[in-house]
Symmetry: C2
Amino acid sequence: MVTNGLLSEGPPIALFDSGLGGLTVARALRQVLPGEPLVYLGDTARLPYGTKSPATVHRFTRQCLRFLMGLSPKMLVVACNTASALALEALHAEFPVPVIGVLKPGAAAAVQAVRRRLGGGVGQNLAPRIGLIATEATISSNAYPQAVRQLDPTLHVVGRACPLLVPMIEEGRANDDPVVKLVLAEYLQPFVDLKVGALILGCTHYPILRGAVAAQLGPEVELIDSAQQTALVVRERLGTMRALDPRPAGGSLTCYVTDQGQRFERLAGQFLGQSVGQPIGVTPEMLEAVED
Amino acid sequence: MVTNGLLSEGPPIALFDSGLGGLTVARALRQVLPGEPLVYLGDTARLPYGTKSPATVHRFTRQCLRFLMGLSPKMLVVACNTASALALEALHAEFPVPVIGVLKPGAAAAVQAVRRRLGGGVGQNLAPRIGLIATEATISSNAYPQAVRQLDPTLHVVGRACPLLVPMIEEGRANDDPVVKLVLAEYLQPFVDLKVGALILGCTHYPILRGAVAAQLGPEVELIDSAQQTALVVRERLGTMRALDPRPAGGSLTCYVTDQGQRFERLAGQFLGQSVGQPIGVTPEMLEAVED
């Protein structure tokens, strides 16, 4: 089994995503927990998960989490909306450490945002609706509407799959790119028409295009970045566990990928806000071998 | 091992692609060889291959071809440009039946097209250049320029990766969609500036957008659809082998996918020009188990 070489730092928080997008969660964690050692696995050989079936996403996610357990983490963070939506509920019981997804923190923040806007002075012409942009698989799963309904049955979630956003971001297109503007205008028009009070950026890639989304929707619609919300939940949970790392800065980040380490390294800066070193390669076959 | 149930028809031609795109090759084969039984495997659990490394594409391709060998085909067709570019050369020797890719037929047709245009009355202001649009991995592999150079060292290939085209096509966007037009105008402008004589549609998805590409480039640029060229090579090769199916029509098509059978069935018509039945599911783990 792989050893993490981080024992002198204490056990790490282990993050998992199908690819690069989860690095926006690593970035948010770094901001609120600067001393924590982090390990990150991107399943780049089998990405994207967003067009795949629940059974396949569940199997791949389980394999990745079992691999990460070999690094002796104190917590598992599923930094992928698709995996959080399709696989998380069934996997909680299987691991001896807490498994935190990005979906529930995002849903909770959206509910709070819409309530705040409905109750306050602004947004009086905003309907009690929450918009959601995400992958095909996340939309089909209905997991966000279910999570919101559990918190507030009066709120309605309107979702739209946005398959072009991830490849546009990985192509390096900026917020003012004409293609980005045209595609977002098309994808977001229904949310403008429906006067949603908040829009969930339901894929860990999407915060990269936050500026362009905000420009389309205007200041009355609050954008919910589940990376930030998830980081706050992680901090709170580690506090309850009395497992916070006391150091004020300098936590390490070690990345593992199942393919394309150089591409990962090249694109990572955009998501993380700083450069990462060359990630460590593992194959999907190695992940599958971890299964019992 | 899986049996094909097609023995009464004689051995099939087995096609492989990472997903749906190879169905454009199945369609072209059906046009020139209407009586041949076809089997098709789409590795939809691990698609797309176009952003993955040569080592990973090679391993996945090998697993898929070994699975297809279990269906006792008379020929293997790698109906995927990325796999043809990155994996085919190393795999030829491993299989007891001919393995035909889409790359060399496309490269040969492009060379012929440019020579024809340079020699004829049209295209006198066209440079001896061939354009290529393809996935990131196909472009990085340099396989098309190498194949063209082997045929004619005076011809130069100019390639561009077009990561948005596959997701735009799978989203169902038509040739007159404003996003399609804007993205193609951007991707294709260098080929207009360079006055290429032919453009290779170097991904089996791209023929779906043939009309929009032609509208951007004008009638002086010949579009090379490697699906059609590959079908002609397959027919010629089977003829040499005396293995052509004599029946004039009615060849079957059986599809296997590693994930998302319903999505495959829903989108397949666009690529094949006719509907397919529900494909048969196999998991990537089953493919890996075929390896020795």
